[in-house]
Amino acid sequence: MTSAPTPRIELAGVTKRFGSRQVLAGIDLAVAPGESLVIIGGSGTGKSVMLKCILGLIPIDAGSIRVDGQEVAGLKGAALDAHRTRIGMLFQGGALFDSLPVWRNISFALPGSAAERKAAAIDNLARVGLGPEVADLKPAELSGGMQKRVALARAIAARPPIIFFDEPTAGLDPITAAVINNLIRTLVTDLKITALTITHDMASVRHIADRVAMLHGGKIIWQGPLASLDGCDNAHVRQFITGSAEGPIQMPGARA
């Protein structure tokens, strides 16, 4: 049997505490190259914190984070910049520059003349299903769904090998959400991107994931291929995916 390839991203024993809250209590997780891993778990369970730790925005207390076998926890300066330029992101709030037209937003990180950057932006707009007429609009002139697609075009523009998606369908109507889910799945496959997605939208999970992992109590309590999600016998996972108020997961403040 051949040995498995080096994981694209690997977390081992990662811990992080904020004040009295142990948000990450020993995360062990691996994402294979080209794989789409979706992390599920209740609000406030530390999923976003985990992404920010990998990006070096939040320092970890203990543990190891490796990307392509290289330790990235604790990187600073040029090494940290180099690490971050390999990871695109589509986070909540999209956060485009209001003062720049769509094409300058999409091509912000790209080199070259303005003409070259505009052409690249229009290519990436096409990849997210938007026409060139959108290129000169300002973000404020776009609907929420179109802004999200522009943010997605920006995330892929520099062709990073890794993209993080944080609640990519939050605030979108079901039809627009389906369009976004579809785009993410297609682009991740076509551009051979390693994707790490956080969501509590089960439709997104089913559309985007190759594998699913559940974060609860600061640890990964279950992980497996998408196909094994529905048959999973972990009570926490079952409660989450069925959206039930009954089960081992207690809302904070609930009486025992």
């Binding site: 904020f18 004040g19 920010k52 990006l55 070096g56 925005l57 939040i58 320092p59 600073k76 040029a78 940290l80 910049d81 180099a82 971050r84 330029t85 990871i87 695109g88 992101m89 986070f91 709030g93 956060a95 520059f97 003062s99 720049l100 300058r104 912000f108 990180a109 920006r154 520099a158 990073p160």
Partner: protein, 187 residues
Amino acid sequence: MNPPSPGAAELSALLLRVADGDAAAFQAFYDRTSAKLFGVILRILIERQESEDVLQDVYVSIWRKAATFDPAKASPITWATTIARNRAIDRLRARPRAQVPVEQAYDLADDGPAPDAGLSHAQDTQRLNAALAALEPRHAAAIRACYFEGITYDELATREQVPVGTLKSWVRRGLIRMRGALEGNEA
């Protein structure tokens, strides 16, 4: 000065009433602006409880300082955002060293021209916007994000996949050009 947007005009009117001690106007101003100011603070401090504490402090300041707000000099949201950003930076710097994750974002003040060097209070918003408009668009956008919207260099670098050093040099060069343009106009 460019005519204010309808939103800005309403917020300015609320602040004028707050300056007179109008508690209902203060509540309305809070309702309209607290989400945005919380976002500014949270991006800097990251920790939620601390950010909520700072948000309360900021609105106490706004209540006390409303009389100093001049709608001819700044938009009301820029005025409030600046208070929030400065208060969050002060709180960040007051933390014990070992816990501070992103203070490198504020090194620009130590190794380049001060952001408001050359800008006196007589500069009005229109000339500021004109000076920004004369810059390379990406440089102006970086200045708006880091100086007026409280986004840290770290966050902007991560969001845009541009190295922190590149962003800092864009901002530094942009501010130098702006200072030149604004000082040149003062003759």
